[in-house]
């Protein structure tokens, strides 16, 4: 049973970026903004984290670089979604395509297709199969802070109102635009950390399109987690377990097509969505553009 610590370690390590991103996404969605561009944001942050760590030799500065990249995309998305009341899905799709193209290009230009895999300084982790790292603790803190923000603060109540009945929130004296802006800012901050984690903790390098749909998996997990902080985090761990199983079967050399395990997290996310359904629980004004009267 020597595989068990490895599987737990893989689940935690692969689940951490999902949990961190979901802790942010849950706030944005409760405030009424679905961040379809999460995938592209995480990808941009993964690259920025990788590059800053390579240049400075300090992975923690790399994390800051990832946050900076996420914030840059956030300002574009926030302007279009909030100021111009553009469709959130269209804007997010644009962010994703843009990020995919730009990171692919920057990687070739700055790192070069030398064939040599660039390896950068990474976040320290404990020895052994579990391989814990400090960002895992941060993930727990972020889940707690999201829960606290949403459920225990006046701001959280107002933000949830902005996602359920924005005109009522506005009538109560809140600025829906400002609440959604703050929620998106928080989500972008966490997406930046999550993205940088991919290149600085989960691996030590960057690859084109290395997020491989994780941003969308996070959005699926938030739905399955019924738009609660803790529920979303648990859903993320369930899906990261599926990612972990893939690595486990590779090492065991089972006679099952490996592509089945590659597809497993996505199939699981689909099954989870089908099981959860939308119900009446989704924020009533999720993804509805808000135009102040």
């Amino acid at each position: 049973m020597s595989a068990v610590p490895g599987l737990i370690g893989a689940t935690l390590s692969l689940g951490t970026p999902l949990v961190i991103a979901a802790a942010g996404e849950v706030i944005a969605e409760r405030a009424g903004v679905i961040d379809i561009g999460l995938e592209g944001t995480m990808l941009a942050s993964a690259f920025a984290g990788f590059y800053v760590s390579e240049v400075t030799g300090n992975p923690w500065l790399g994390i800051l670089g990832g946050i900076a990249a996420a914030l840059a995309l956030f300002f574009v998305a926030a302007h279009l979604i909030l100021r111009q009341a553009a469709d959130q899905v269209v804007v997010g799709t644009g962010i994703n395509l843009f990020s995919l193209g730009v990171t692919g290009w920057l990687f070739v230009v700055l790192v070069g297709k030398t064939g040599k895999l660039a390896s950068v300084p990474t976040i320290p982790k404990t020895a052994g199969a579990l391989a814990l790292n400090p960002l895992m603790i941060a993930a727990v803190v972020f889940v707690f802070s999201s829960w606290f923000l949403l459920k225990k603060t006046r701001w959280g109540l107002a933000a949830r109102a902005a996602g359920e009945a924005p005109f009522a929130a506005e009538a109560a004296g809140y600025s829906v635009i400002r609440l959604r802006f703050q929620a998106m800012l928080y989500a972008a901050f966490l997406a930046g950390i999550a993205g940088a984690y991919l290149s600085l903790a989960q691996t030590s390098s960057f690859a084109e399109n290395m997020t491989e749909g994780r941003g969308f998996v996070v959005i699926a997990a938030v739905t399955f987690g019924r738009w609660t902080s803790v529920g979303s985090a648990l859903a993320c761990l369930l899906i990261s377990f599926a990612y972990g199983v893939k690595y486990l079967t590779l090492s065991l050399g089972l006679a099952i097509p490996s592509q089945l395990f590659d597809a497993l997290p996505y199939l699981l996310a689909l099954a989870v969505l089908a099981a959860a359904g939308r119900g009446g629980i989704a924020p009533a004004s999720l993804a509805v553009p808000y135009r102040p009267k």
């Binding site: 592209g40 799709t93 843009f98 730009v102 290009w105 230009v109 749909g213 739905t223 996505y266 969505l273």
Partner: protein, 335 residues
């Protein structure tokens, strides 16, 4: 300034800005891009061939998005369609136009059915179409990855791809030097049919109403869910058609990177075409020309191949900003 001028000028501005950001000599790059796409027969044919899958996917996107269904799963639908088409093509090993139409129908049916999974999840379980179609893309990519190494691999089992079709099984070639094939004529026919359906038929009117105002549609006793499901399935079928044309016209076999992201690239093409079937043909030709011409830029370094992708994203965001600007202006003008 005339509104119709904004889009081409905006696209040119985005192209120049992207070239500038890529640190390429702007004037010379534009000249090379133009030459690569239009200067001679080779360029023109290359532009047409590159734009065929883009236009067909974009037509699929138009059908879904006009109904308010954000299908992002064109890539997966295309791949599943071609997989089914390739499987059937090798079972029957026929030739001639009847065989080709049959394969195209198989591609459309399989892709439509694949989109139907997302449609069912939406209709029965209320699952967001954006997320389900994206997740299904990944499943399809790994499915192809498995098929070309397993059941559909070519007989010698040396390369991860299917066996190549006999020339007689593929579309007739119009120009031996450039590889232009008869399948390109499907594009104008498809665009015309989609236009007639969306703009001129009662069914298309219901589809647009559902997309613009589902509550009004419901009040008018239009079965909103059924219309959405139908739009998504037809959208998938068109994406499958795009794959089938490419399979029977250009490659003749299926492999891992069969689609260089057409399913995603079709979205900006559809948006820039104003979600209008004929507009889509124009914007598809534009991006096809960019693909064809960007070959010439490779003299400046391998990075320029990502140029088209970066431009696509910039174009979508620019388009969003632009269309909101135009709308705001027209609202002010009306007031």
């Amino acid at each position: 300034m005339k509104t119709w001028l904004i889009v081409p000028l905006g696209l040119l501005a985005i192209l120049v800005l992207t070239l500038f950001a890529f640190q390429l000599p702007v004037g010379e790059s534009l000249k090379l891009l133009f030459e690569g796409a239009f200067a001679d027969k080779y360029g023109v044919h290359r532009t047409i061939l590159k734009s065929v899958p883009l236009i067909l996917i974009a037509l699929g996107i138009v059908v879904a998005w006009r109904a308010g269904v954000f299908n992002i799963g064109g890539e997966g639908q295309l791949l599943v369609g071609v997989s089914a088409g390739a499987a059937v093509a090798h079972i029957f090993a026929g030739q001639g136009w009847f065989f080709q139409v049959f394969i195209l129908v198989v591609c459309m049916l399989a892709a439509g059915a694949y989109a139907g999974i997302a449609a069912w999840l939406y209709a029965a379980r209320g699952v967001n179409v954006v997320i389900s179609t994206i997740l299904l893309n990944f499943v399809a990519i790994y499915l192809v990855n498995y098929l070309v190494r397993g059941p559909l691999q070519e007989p010698t089992k040396a390369i991860p791809q299917t066996a190549t079709l006999a020339p007689a099984a593929m579309f007739p070639v119009l120009d031996r030097q450039t590889g232009l094939h008869a399948g390109i004529f499907v594009v104008p026919i498809a665009a015309l049919l989609v236009w007639l359906w969306i703009q001129k038929s009662p069914s298309g009117f219901r589809l647009r109403l559902v997309g613009q105002n589902p509550n009004a549609a419901r009040a008018a006793r239009i079965p909103v869910t059924r219309v959405s499901v139908m739009a998504l399935v037809w959208s998938g079928a068109l994406c499958g058609l795009a794959g089938g044309i490419e399979y029977l016209g250009v490659s003749g076999y299926l492999f891992d990177k069969f689609s260089p992201g057409w399913g995603f690239l079709g979205i900006p093409v559809a948006l820039l075409g104003g979600l209008n079937p004929f507009g889509v043909v124009l914007s598809g030709l534009y991006f096809g020309a960019l693909f064809a011409g960007s070959r010439n830029l490779e003299a400046f370094g391998s990075a320029s191949s990502s140029l088209v992708f970066a431009m696509q994203g910039a174009a979508v965001l620019g388009f969003v900003a632009l269309s909101e600007y135009v709308r705001a202006r027209s609202i002010r003008g009306a007031a």
